[in-house]
């Protein structure tokens, strides 16, 4: 089994059809295929081969426009994203409001592996509080599970994909089990400088957690822990782990990685899953809807071959939507299934984002050295004010973590731009001296905070607009609450204080929340829209992503998240997907599905 055509797929029978090939689809298909289920994966974009397509080591001068972002490559020319971005030609979405503050922007990718090819690889666990937010402060929804239910799956995912970090034992920032994490990379000068001066304000700094192999995975120890009793899966995984290299500390992760040193679905999940012989993949397969059997269960899906425009139907015992939260919502709405609660499309969340950067004189003219490291988040600051916040003086609920960075990274168009606020505007030999002096002395902090689900943030089908395949598109409604705006203001104010403590200067003052906050969707952590719960009247799925209305239809992407902790959601999505896949295997074994 392998990459096949849509015509071939139609003729074969499968246990499970998985829609989507990113973090959720990759993890779901991996677990199912490794444990013996026959799986068909449908990906809306083209096939993608990181080994030959990744631009490793190219510098920006080799790219058009020196690599600067454009609407066709929004994160820069070398970014891994293919046929994606904020706009996808021929595949629009709409907004119910003309007010930018009420609009949502939707990043998509149309490629095998989806957004995992370019993502930031930041891999943070939700903590115990994050599963019971309503119990804690009366807002939003509790999860129909506890941290302990997901903890073993966090361990498994971290062992499989490879995550560096340390166990710091901080509040609501869980440790991994012993032997799970890889060693973190050494901190940069700017990391340690931040740590020293932020500490004076009571702001802690610990090792970052990212899905990058700082050392090779232990292929002798890990496979047996991940697939106990399954010698075939162990052998396949052990062989594949040996094909992944450790990071060589050069070339940014956002381009993808041809040596498989970081996590992408295409370099970690799919190769061993394909090696089992249990996984077929059809690319350029744009799913329109879930089809229904006479007994009300899911029959399969109907999809359009992007290359021919021809519609195809496939059948399976189980249908899994893992198309990315909002694409799965769109498929559900276009299918007219699993929505007796009326909650499909409701409670969309993104991450609260705000940032402030400045220039730090102490970091000028550093002795020259290589600061590439793992290209991001050697260290970070988890939310540190849980106790103070509970006392109620903040004016907003829930916290944020700080991602920060400085040092001499690979120069791009912005590296020596806009120096006038520092030097008044120079040219000639003086300008060249200024460039040497200031390069590497800039420091940036980004806040990433928890948004609370609300009734004003939802997606519905636009009654008038269809994409180029004739499929109705999503129309978004969006409104931040005072919690998110208060949080964004707190971020900028705090970052200015930290820059002050670092002896830094910044080109503008901290802003009020509605000016500081990034537009909805811009942080690309969109989740919700088909939330899990304990009550079929108020939620779409149970804790396994199994739809209340259609017990052989599962959602394993971010759509089921009923809260969006400040922890970047990808690791949690993968842990949930593994847990869901285990549940599917168990139900199939018991012949319940």
């Amino acid at each position: 089994m392998s990459f096949i055509s849509s015509g071939e797929a139609d003729k074969k029978g499968y246990d499970v059809v998985v829609v989507g090939s990113g973090a959720a689809g990759g993890q779901t298909a991996y677990t199912l295929a490794m444990e013996g289920a026959r799986v068909l994966m449908l990906e809306a974009g083209r096939n993608y081969v990181p080994a030959t397509e990744t631009p490793m080591m190219q510098v920006n001068a080799e790219a058009p426009l020196r690599g600067a972002g454009t609407p066709e490559k929004p994160f820069g020319f070398w970014d891994a994203t293919i046929d994606g971005g904020w706009e996808v030609p021929g595949e629009p979405y709409t907004s119910a409001s003309d007010d930018p503050e009420r609009q949502f922007r939707w990043w998509r990718a149309r490629m095998l592996g989806g957004r995992t090819n370019h993502w930031g690889r930041i891999s943070l666990r939700n903590g115990p509080y994050d599963f019971k937010p309503r119990t804690r402060d009366g807002l939003g929804f509790d999860w129909p599970m506890d941290y302990e239910d997901l903890a073993p799956y966090y361990d498994k995912v971290e062992m499989l994909i490879g995550v560096y970090g340390e166990n710091d034992g901080m509040e609501n920032t869980p440790n991994s089990s012993p032997g799970v994490l890889l060693p973190p990379p050494r901190p940069l000068v700017s990391d340690l400088y931040f740590k020293k001066h932020a500490a004076r304000l009571g702001v802690p700094t610990i090792a970052g957690h990212r899905a990058v192999l700082t050392t090779r995975l232990d292929h002798k120890r890990l496979p047996a822990l991940l697939h106990p009793g399954n010698r075939k899966a162990q052998a396949i995984l052990a062989a594949d782990m040996q094909k992944r290299s450790a990071c060589f500390f050069a070339t940014p992760c956002g381009r993808g990685c041809s040596i498989r040193a970081n996590y992408q679905s295409t370099t970690v999940h799919l190769p061993p899953a394909l090696d089992t012989g249990n996984l077929d993949i059809v690319t350029d397969a744009m799913v329109r809807a879930v089809t229904k059997r006479a007994d009300g269960r899911a029959e399969g899906v109907v999809y359009i071959d992007r290359k021919t425009g021809v519609e195809h139907r496939v059948k399976a015992r189980i249908v899994v939507l893992a198309a990315s939260a909002l694409e799965s919502v769109r498929i559900l709405l276009n299918s007219g299934v699993a929505n007796s609660s009326g909650k499909v499309g409701k409670y969309i969340m993104d991450t609260v984002g705000a940032g402030l950067g400045g220039q730090v004189p102490m970091l000028e003219n550093m002795p020259l050295h290589n600061e590439d490291g793992v290209s991001g988040l050697h260290m970070y600051t988890p939310w540190w004010l849980y106790k103070q916040q509970l006392k109620g003086s903040f004016g907003f609920a829930r916290g944020y973590h700080i991602e920060f960075g400085g040092g001499r990274d690979m120069p791009g168009m912005g590296t020596v731009a806009g120096l006038e606020w520092l030097n008044g505007g120079t040219y000639g030999r003086k300008f060249k001296e200024d460039a040497r002096r200031y390069y590497g002395s800039f420091f940036y902090m980004s806040g990433r905070g928890e948004m609370i689900p609300n009734e004003d943030c939802y997606a519905e089908l636009d009654p008038n607009v269809k994409d180029k395949f004739g499929i109705p598109v999503l129309r978004f409604h969006w409104k931040w609450s005072e919690h998110e705006l208060g949080q964004a203001a707190h971020m900028e104010k705090t970052f200015a204080e930290i820059l002050d403590a670092m002896g830094g200067r910044y080109p503008r003052k901290p802003q009020p929340g509605n000016k500081a906050i990034k537009q909805g969707g811009v942080i690309i952590h969109e989740v919700g829209g088909a939330i899990m719960g304990t009550d079929p009247k108020t939620s779409v799925t149970n804790s396994y992503g199994q739809c209340w209305d259609m017990n052989n239809l599962f959602i394993t992407d971010g759509a089921t998240l009923c809260s969006n902790a400040d922890k970047n959601p990808t690791l949690t999505i993968m842990a949930l997907a593994w847990r869901s896949a285990d549940h599917m295997l168990s139900l199939m074994k018991k012949k319940e599905l």
Binding site: V59, L65, R66, V189, N370, G425
Partner: protein, 212 residues
């Protein structure tokens, strides 16, 4: 359009569009700095080949005239001249890069295009007005006299538009230069080298920041 009509049209445009309100000299006002970019000019697409060799002029045509390229070269080398450490901007392809930038079919670049083209015309007109020569033919001190009036945030109000142009042009020149291997080495980028292990900062760097 004959030359006289062109000049009249440009003055009319200058009167209504603030960004065009340079002191355009009649001797050069009718001269365009670039050929048109086709309204339907395509970009490199959403799935460009990331392994092929990309060159300025490849994905879309360059449009600066020969005269405008000469002005561009003189100006970017005024901003980044050769010194003991590295060569001048034009030695590493910055003229081609600026031409590629202002000829590109994307919103940011389409927005920058009139700023740069009008600025290049202004520089030439100012050069003629002050010294009776084309800008590339000026002596260093003469070029500096013009640059000194427009390079800083403290430029006089009558040079406000020219200063905006200069700031934009300086950013483009610096972006074009410091992204090349020569420019990256100049400012001290030492990365993009595969390493067996990552040692972190040397002790002297930690000491400098008061961390050791």
């Amino acid at each position: 359009m004959d030359r006289r009509t062109t000049i009249k049209w440009m003055f009319a445009a200058a009167a209504t569009v603030p960004s065009l309100r340079f002191g355009i000299d009649a001797a050069t006002a009718g001269e365009a700095a670039a050929r048109d970019v086709a309204a339907d000019q395509a970009g490199y697409g959403t799935d460009p080949d990331l392994q092929k060799e990309w060159k300025a002029g490849g994905p879309w045509p360059l449009t600066l005239t020969e005269n405008a390229r000469a002005t561009t070269k003189a100006l970017c080398d005024l901003i980044i001249p050769a010194d003991d450490v590295s060569p001048a901007a034009s030695a590493v392809g910055v003229v081609d890069f600026i031409d590629e930038w202002i000829s590109a079919p994307y919103p940011q670049q389409r927005g920058d295009r009139p700023v740069v083209l009008n600025g290049l015309l202004w520089i030439e007109a100012e050069s003629q007005k002050r010294f009776g020569k084309a800008f590339p033919a000026l002596a260093d001190a003469q070029r500096a006299q013009i640059a000194d009036d427009i390079c800083s945030t403290a430029s006089k109000p009558e040079f406000a538009d020219a200063a905006k142009f200069f700031a934009k042009f300086r950013d483009l020149t610096a972006g074009g230069f410091y992204t090349t291997p020569v420019g990256m080495k100049d400012i001290g980028y030492r990365g993009n080298v595969p390493l067996e292990k990552f040692d972190g900062p040397p002790i002297e760097a930690l000491k400098k920041a008061g961390l050791a």
